[in-house]
Symmetry: D2
């Protein structure tokens, strides 16, 4: 196989991102697009010379080597299982499911069929964050000791979205859990978390929280702290910082431009990029590239189904910690 | 009174800092210095034209208006009470005592005599941190929601020091507790903390910890996160960041110089200032200035005995949270 | 016309950049590619579904609305004239010609036929530099007084290239002359320049220089300083800074990533992006977009033939200033 | 001699700076202060336990080992000669005189008596700029090739001051000429300069200029560019940047604090320190320290009379270049 024929299941906002990334990746071809709504499917397919098909047709078509699952979350696990049974390579947006036991079940099916499953933890592929990890691997900071993650959205999503999102920890922090694991290099064994509604009182009625602080600890005592908020007036705030025995490595935010204005009131620089589609576009492209490299050239897969599961478990533990006001062990989940 | 005659009780490292600050403050005069060791007392007194006296002599001398208590911690509370009874104005290094009930007792004596007591939370007077607070007061970020504090020492103190220090939370984090309170503008009601020994295994034998993550929550849900370590190879790492409904304000680290070197391996700037005497020298001066302004000109006192007590309570709660692996309410202490 | 059919004349390094930019621009279609060498033409054409044609065929084809001239410099003026006569819209890489009188002649032909001619001063379209200009236009710094430009290549081009380049001022500084004019908002009337060979002695044998300092002055006394070198070990150094009566606005360099490493030797950040294709990719795209908007939607053209001429005149004046060790008036050229 | 007894000639603004620096320098004692006005002399003397004396009395007093000359400029050369004849060590504020031949004459007297003369080029002693030079000396950037200096005052001095100042180049740029020489490590042989009145038309009536661009070239072709203005709304702008064969080293500005405010309009940091007394206070202290070390401990003198002369010659050459619109050779002066 020299070109991967890909079927895209879901032509919404994130589907469009992956469609564009697939179209611009050497070795990948966007063959077909499916969506419950014909218009976005048609528009996306036309942009890149793909066909509009139903999910069933794509699954049935043996010339389709791989599927990208960008449907609503509640369809993810079923589609993964179906694709695994048909021998298709699978990319699935996070989370695999909101329910931990459903994810375990799904991963068992994936394992049974020896399927390739990559989960959409795009931030691992961000050139900045990736380089942080490379510096750690190169020994630049010695042994990792502490990780600090600040992750703030410009504003909360609609309440209707939040109602089906599984809550802040499964919807938003899940990326930070994955990043913490990616950087710690050792599994967290305990989670403590607090959460508040500070941005919009209506969020309490979902019910959900909009602000949170999470602390993860590994067996050897490494510590990760995550700071989350659904509000950041200055743009999409995404910072990571890793402290080790020999030093620190961090990745800072991306600003709109490098322009700075100096006047009697000081120096003014631009807000941060806003929002994730713009901020992480290079990451989405690199993610698709790795998927293709895994399938075609035997590259090592990262962001696996197991990664998806482990971050979901941390999210569940965090939620329990907030309610029970105590440190929750990961093996309780 | 136009000049404050000050007796300095303790001519060790921090005593010297305050001695120098007093000598350079208009309205203050370093009248006398006492220390268990004659040599440092003599040296310090000679530098600024002060007399060497015993603590008792200083306390007995009615021409001494104020005392600066920079003795070992276990003498603080007794000296405060003695000075309060004699009508002297009092500046005392933190902590007042390692024991919460002893502090409460001491503050009762202070209150009974209507004494002026200022506690050495020098960081409130750092020009950078002070400006952060001024921006908050000016409404620049709206309502405060979250505070992030990173506070890392270049290296651990000697084990012999740690043995008498009361532990990381009472010795080091106590400054961060005060800073969190200073910035939150609302009292924390709950504390969760984790601690590890990552820097030096010998610290576990003290017993103490060298790395910690603390989360504070106020009644209205405001959140503060503190990250502490006894190790920072790149200098004395002291950063604060406050998020509010309208924006964020922060103070960054101070580097040795502004010099930057660019070469094929990138851009290199200098390490951070190292250590607290250098980093916080302007803060120590401003602290003495306020003390003088309080006594001579009726300025409003900040860093009171009550501030000392409240931070100590948070430290005690944090220590308990580590052991009991749960969120500890402040009113449990 | 709703889509612009474009013929690309020249499939070398910069031709590929424009080909890619055209292909990704809504409203533009890469219809045909010509090159003296069949292979690069074929490769480029295939990537975007274009045809391989000769320059003559493209010029003859009435369905081709516009040409992008990315051939060697000595063909530019003839091709511009030919395209102007045939009523095609024209984009031409800088410089139009190395000879000022040939450029004047060529622009006369363009004017005679009322042709649209855009010159490849891509930096005007860089989002950072463009925003600097927008800040000036918005009055953020008051009246412009002084402009500082630092422009340093990572390393010198091959001697064989330099021999046909017209010299540093016409090859490299010409971009900075255009940028100075773009930012000053007033035409320079006098030029003083010095030049040295500091990077590689072989460059003196071309003969050419590799390091230069240029000062421009306008009629009202505004001043621009340009610093040029063919060497920058830390990447492609491109900075502009504009001082006005009310403040300063500047655009800083673009680094490879935002990653920073802190250790006992200080803070290390990444080198600059290297080289212009990567650094200015967004600018190349915006440039093509404006060309399309000019032709299809009547947008205002910037980077005109006149801009090309004026920067060439400044380059000629600078070269004369170096030789004659005096300030050269622009109207001498 | 273990302590240097110093007489301060002139208790104006800069005299006070040196008086304070002397008082805080180990090995130096402020013995006497002279000034045409009794009040500032008295105030300064009282602050540091010095006597008020006349210039003659100080010169006559053999117990005074050294004089600091901080009188008006037109007295400098006479006082230097007088002190040299009496065997006193001499520190003199820049410039030695506004007239090149007068300076040459004065330096001949200094040489004849083998006197120690240090000139107040304080910026060499700034910890940031000094470290730039140390990096150059350590070979961090290879061979120096180009120097860029931006030096902008917050605002113009009073016209009455400008009338006696010798003009922008002798009053303000002279510091930058010294810095360029300090960093180039090779004498400039040619100067080209342009100057404008952009800040305040009244300055043209002095006559003087308020904005200038100067280019210096050494025999081997090294280039320095200086950008000067009497206006910088954002504070005292003082930047240097040195490019070498292996890289670049620079020193950036000093801000009031490290505080940064982020909001929907971007990131705002504080203005620069304002003005030179605050910005260069550590430099003034280090300058006095070196003077003491030269006299007491045989340290190597930098900022000599010859340095004073050479910068004045560059200033004269720059002024001539502006008028004659040509590059002026240093040996013409």
């Amino acid at each position: 196989m020299s070109t991967l024929n890909i079927g895209l299941l879901g032509a919404g906002r994130i589907g469009k991102v992956h469609g564009a990334a697939i179209a611009s990746t050497a070795g990948a071809r966007l063959a077909a697009v499916a969506d419950a709504f014909p218009e976005p499917a048609r528009e996306l397919a036309d942009s890149y010379g793909a066909q509009v098909r139903s999910i069933e047709e794509i699954m049935d078509d043996d010339s389709i080597d791989a599927v990208f699952i960008t449907t609503p979350t509640d369809m993810h696990a079923d589609l993964i299982e179906d694709a695994a049974r048909r021998g298709k390579k699978i990319f699935c947006e996070k989370p695999i499911d909101l329910d931990v036991s459903r994810v375990r079940q799904c991963l068992a099916v994936v394992a049974e069929h020896g399927a390739t499953l990559m989960v959409g933890f795009n931030r691992r592929f961000d050139p900045n964050f990736k380089q942080v990890r490379e510096q750690i691997d190169a020994g630049a900071i010695g042994d990792v000791e502490m990780v600090n993650i600040i992750s703030r959205d410009p504003g909360p999503p609609p309440l209707s979205y939040m109602e089906r999102s599984g809550g802040l920890f499964k919807d938003m922090t899940i990326h930070d859990f994955d990043m913490a694991r990616f950087l710690l290099g050792e599994e967290p064994v305990a989670v403590s978390a607090v959460g508040s509604v500070l941005v919009d009182p209506a969020i309490a009625t979902v019910p959900d929280i909009d602000s949170a602080a999470v602390t993860l600890v590994t067996a050897s005592g490494k510590i990760a702290q995550i700071s989350n908020s659904r509000r950041a007036t200055y743009g999409y705030d995404q910072r990571i910082e890793v402290h080790g025995s020999m030093g620190m490595v961090r990745a800072d935010n991306l600003h709109e431009t490098t322009v700075e204005l100096a006047s009697a009131s000081g120096y003014q620089s631009t807000p941060l990029m806003n929002f994730f589609l713009e901020r992480y576009m290079p990451a989405y492209r690199a993610e698709v590239q790795l998927f293709v490299d895994v399938v075609l050239h035997g590259a090592v897969l990262t962001a696996t189904g197991d990664d998806g599961l482990r971050s979901l478990v941390l999210a569940e533990a965090a939620a329990r910690s907030v309610v029970e006001r105590r440190t929750v062990s990961v093996d309780e989940i």
